[in-house]
Amino acid sequence: MSNHLTGTWALLKLALRRDRIMLPAWLAVLVAMAAGSAAATIPLYPTLAERIKASETINTTPPVVALNGLIYDESSIGAIAMVKLSGIGAILVAILAIILVVRHTRSEEDTGRLELVGSTVIGRHAALTAALIIGFGTNVVLGILTTLGLIAAGLPVAGSVAFGLGWMSVGFAFAAIAAAAAQVAGNGRAANSLAITLLGVTYVARAIGDTAGPRWLSWLSPVGWQQQLRPFAGERWSALLVSLAFTAVAVAGTYALAARRDLGAGLLPDRPGRARGAAFLGSPLGLVWRLQRAGLAAWAIGFLLLGLVLGNIASKVGNLLDNPDLQDIILRLGGEKGITDAFLAAEFGLASIIVSVYGVQSIMRLRSEEANTRAEPLLATGISRLGWAGSQVAMALFGTTILMFATGLGAGLAHGLALGDVGGELGRVLGAALAQLPAIWVLVGAVVALYGLVPRQVVLGWVVLLAFFLLGEMGPVLKLNQWVMDISPYAHSPKLPGPTLDYGPIFALVAVAAVLTAVGLVSFRRRDIVA
């Protein structure tokens, strides 16, 4: 076994060198988010009565609980301050772990770099081990820094430690899941998608468990285990064991899988392909469709299921309200229909962020095609640059539309069936989902612009998406100026379904998206093709 690990140290140093900017930046954002929202929340609720009122409002508002989780001690300022970070924040921790581990395992295999490195004195498990050490090590550092940050912000020590450990345990679990996905999947992109799908599915399970029930669903999710640690709410340290045991089992399974598989191969063997190209495979649009239709279909099924779940929860939201104050407000807002609509609007807003991930990734394919020199032979034929890049843009716009359509269709069907009024609800809910598209297209346009203007920095698209997302999620907590929060296109998406629809922002968003896309495409036409 020790032979298999020879060279781990060298690979570890190489990986740290490659990530010397990305890792500290990501850690800084997460720690600043945690400490910042703790510091911003503490002065908001100085008295016990205010805390209990705030906690009750959150705990009795199912959309908020579904999104983030429950507050387990309504008198605890720490529990109130950190509820959002134990939900959405934990997702970011998980995504960091997944990206890190896949990047240093499967993606390295795809480029053939691992083959080059692997032919030197490097054991067969060295790369996997190095990636896991990076994944675990980063989360240990994250846990420690977060704990220190929360203590510095003025929260109790025990809860801060529990919260830091909680984030660490989420990172551990998803580092292990990503490592296993890297063995099963056929390439890096597929490994990322597989691990992130698992994150999404378990998060939805937790959302259902925390709201509509049954409660045990929350225990299917690493994020749920972290919340069961109950930081600042009478810490239950034993919940940590669940995470650690899961991580250990997943790591053991990963090594077993890795020992059975050849470098570069997934677990599933390649089948022979067609000897002739199908008739549509003669244009850039045909190529984009041929390459991406399977992936889009898988995403669409995922979003249809998500929509069904959301629609189902939405129809039960009204029954769950047991806070008399809130019920009054809701009645004034238009009754039970008001709260279910508000729930769906919030969930569609979140779905639009995830669909944006698809859109951003889709445009970034242009860059990877160019950098891998796959674009070169195509652009040396009779197809224009505009035709080539425009096809991918078309696919991104089409794909995001399909995904929001699937979400809306699922939610509308489930909601309509529950109310016994599919005909009335389906169109309304579907329209609400589709109304989120313009904001998504602004993101798509921004990445096209980056691609045209600064192709080597197109990865900044993720930074833009993350920044807009954080503006929406953390802006109100950090009490940012409204105009700062208005920079995000998602701030201008209509909150639908709801009583009113203002077409102004929709047209404005579409116009911005169109201008950004045009800037990107025109710049691309005028610049060099660079590897």
């Binding site: 990206i99 002739r276 005028r526």
Partner: protein, 310 residues
């Protein structure tokens, strides 16, 4: 008659690096033109400018009578390009890629396609990710050669091919040559260039250092002489046009500029010649002299940048 490729004083810079620095290149119609130069001399950069993938900083570039940057699409329908480093889509089969590239170019000859697949012994049903480097190269070659185009641009097309396939490639290209196809062939394999090319251009550090037919290049150059004399010679190194002189007793080995052969031979015969072998310089010698050892810029004219996460 137009000149399919005509480049003069071409300059292309990447940041502070001058990848192409006043390059000249002319390819006549119906000609197979060898394009030679050490790694990083600017061959691939030149081809990319010709394809309109890179924009020239200065100089004039004409391709098939048009401007490769502005008329890219129209010109590309009349040419086929085979890159030296072929990357395929992992989940597309070789057959799909060949058909796709052919259609994008405006059609290919199905009979020719089948014939080439047969000759190159290519399995078109394999997926991109499972091809070896040589097989990926074959996919690009079949796609390029199966199209009925005026001009072939080949960038080290045989890299990764086994000797058997290299011979197939050579035969195929000889047939194209017979048909009068214009071909620009960038290559490092001198026997290949010798067998296929009418004329060659040698570049170095982004500049053209030599151009002409192989015979011309040889004749303009030196002759190597290996002679055994009656007595040890005197004063040979004082003669003009003498290079790399080595005297070992009565044995003399020397490179002589062809313009000064008379003087050197006269000097040798006065001493008395017992045996004499003279030969034109080999291609290798010719190239080695031009390739030299001076540092050159990287082929793509840029330094390796660290890969960004995708």
């Amino acid at each position: 008659m137009t000149t399919p490729v005509s480049i003069s004083s071409l300059v292309k810079t990447f940041g502070s690096t001058r990848a192409l620095d006043g390059l000249h290149l002319e390819v006549a119609e119906g000609e197979v033109h060898g394009f030679l130069g050490p790694n990083g001399a600017g061959k691939t950069t030149t081809l990319r400018v010709l394809l309109g993938l890179l924009r020239a900083d200065s100089g004039t570039v004409r391709l098939l009578g048009g401007d490769p940057w502005h008329d890219a699409v129209a010109l590309h329908r009349r040419l086929a390009y085979v890159p030296g480093d072929v990357t395929l889509w992992p989940n597309l089969s070789g057959g799909e890629v060949i058909d796709m590239l052919g259609r994008m170019r405006g059609g290919m000859n199905p009979k020719r396609r089948a014939e080439l697949i047969e000759r190159f012994n290519l399995d078109p049903t394999k997926k991109g990710r499972s091809y070896s480097k040589g097989n990926r190269q074959k996919v690009a070659l079949v796609a390029g050669l199966a199209s009925d185009v005026e001009l072939l641009l080949l960038d080290e097309p045989t890299s990764g091919l086994d000797p058997l396939m290299e011979a197939v490639f050579r035969d195929t290209l000889l047939e194209e040559r017979q048909k009068g196809r214009t071909i620009l062939l960038s290559s490092h394999i001198l026997s290949e260039v010798e067998a296929l090319c009418h004329r060659v251009t040698i570049i170095r550090s982004g500049r053209t250092v030599e151009t002409g037919t192989l015979t011309e290049l040889r004749h303009l150059r030196r002759t190597s002489i290996d002679a055994t004399l009656a007595t040890p010679p005197q004063g040979l190194d004082g003669l003009p046009g003498v290079h790399d002189l080595s005297v070992d007793g009565t044995r003399v080995r020397v490179q002589v500029d062809n313009a000064h052969l008379d003087e050197v031979l006269r000097a040798l015969t006065t001493v008395g010649v017992r045996s004499l072998v003279s030969q034109p310089p080999s291609l290798e010698e010719l190239f080695l002299r031009h390739y030299g050892t001076e540092p050159t810029v990287d082929e793509r004219g840029q330094t390796e940048t660290e890969a960004l996460p995708r």
